[in-house]
Symmetry: C2
Subunit: 206 residues, 2 copies
């Protein structure tokens, strides 16, 4: 049987119940550990599941940052030096990635707290996650305030990419199954994926 809800039902729901429902109803989400560096050189790492593709030329992506203390940290660091990293999660450390969503006191590095390794590349301040096979380096392009709930959409330009050569297909696609990339749903549920099919470019019949 089908459950149906309309807008009035959402307003009557208990807060966490509504959060779980609305956060999971959109389907599977990408999962990233977002790395930033503060002016006093603290390495910050936060769990994000709101990555979306905006365009390939220039290479642009978006994330959503919520108006809470924890993300102020991430948002503040991005606003200050414009750089951040997005790192894929593997099944071998998805529990550590989840633990990065906990609120740690300012000055505590989530890398140390959960046991992941910061990794740096030349000319880039923000830390990557050494354990991640796929690493993305971004520079801030635009901040969009969503007035209706105080969140901020961060639009970034991809300036660095790293991926294992045996996951790169001939057409430029990354084989995420081979890369063991983890996907998530809602606020707390983690999955691996299995290929259904890779289809040819869709054309309408003449």
């Amino acid at each position: 049987m089908a459950m149906k809800w309309i807008i009035d039902d959402f307003e009557k729901m208990e807060r966490r119940y509504r959060g779980n429902l609305i956060n999971s109803i959109g389907g599977y989400k990408s999962l990233h550990l977002l790395g930033t560096r503060s002016p006093n050189e603290n390495n910050n790492l936060a769990t994000f599941s709101s990555y979306f593709h905006i365009g390939a030329d220039p290479a642009l992506c978006g994330i959503v940052i919520r108006p809470n203390e924890e993300s102020e940290n991430t948002l503040g660091n991005i606003a200050r030096n414009g750089q951040y990293t997005l790192n894929h999660v593997l099944p071998s450390f998805y529990e550590k990635a989840h633990q990065c969503s906990a609120k740690y006191p300012a000055g505590v590095s989530e890398f140390e707290a959960v046991g992941l390794t910061p990794h740096f590349i030349e000319s880039f301040h923000a830390p990557f996650v050494a354990e991640s096979l796929i690493k993305i380096g971004c520079e801030l392009v635009e901040k969009v305030d969503v007035t209706m709930n105080g969140t901020t959409i961060i639009i970034g330009r991809i300036v660095f990419l790293e991926a294992p050569d045996d996951c790169l297909l001939e057409d430029g696609s990354i084989d995420l199954n081979a890369a063991q990339t983890v996907t998530c749903s809602g606020l707390d549920t983690y999955h691996v994926a299995q290929l259904l099919g890779k289809l040819p470019y869709a054309k309408s019949p003449k």
Copy 2:
């Protein structure tokens, strides 16, 4: 071995190769069939993989619409009557969903062209996909133009939800594995997911 690319490498890539790389590097994406209705009552259906969660109270989500003819159709319909639907895809019809990404002439309904069934509910103009187990009805809240590449971010309020009762967990979460929701990567690759784990709320140690 790891492949590494920097921003200059992207600019030198062949257009489709770059599109495949940048579109797949972000990880697994949600997959929706987006339904709209035109002023002359044509039912439009388009494939989208850019859904992102913005907030639960009010229930807000975003999608990205590209500046091409096909999406002008979707964008135009949303701008005119403010309503659209987002419908999950099942393994049984993922090839039909992919076919909705083809360019059909204006006036051709993708529902008829690919063999899916429009479904209507009271007080809502936009068509749902009858075959989808999870159906989301949205109303336009805000349009954000991304000046750097001409795309548009559509922010919508969720006003209707439908999901099978046996996929609804006690805490309000939807079990996407049970709902057989399909996830995608890049522009052409489709997957189902398997549970790794559902973890308790993360707290920092005292």
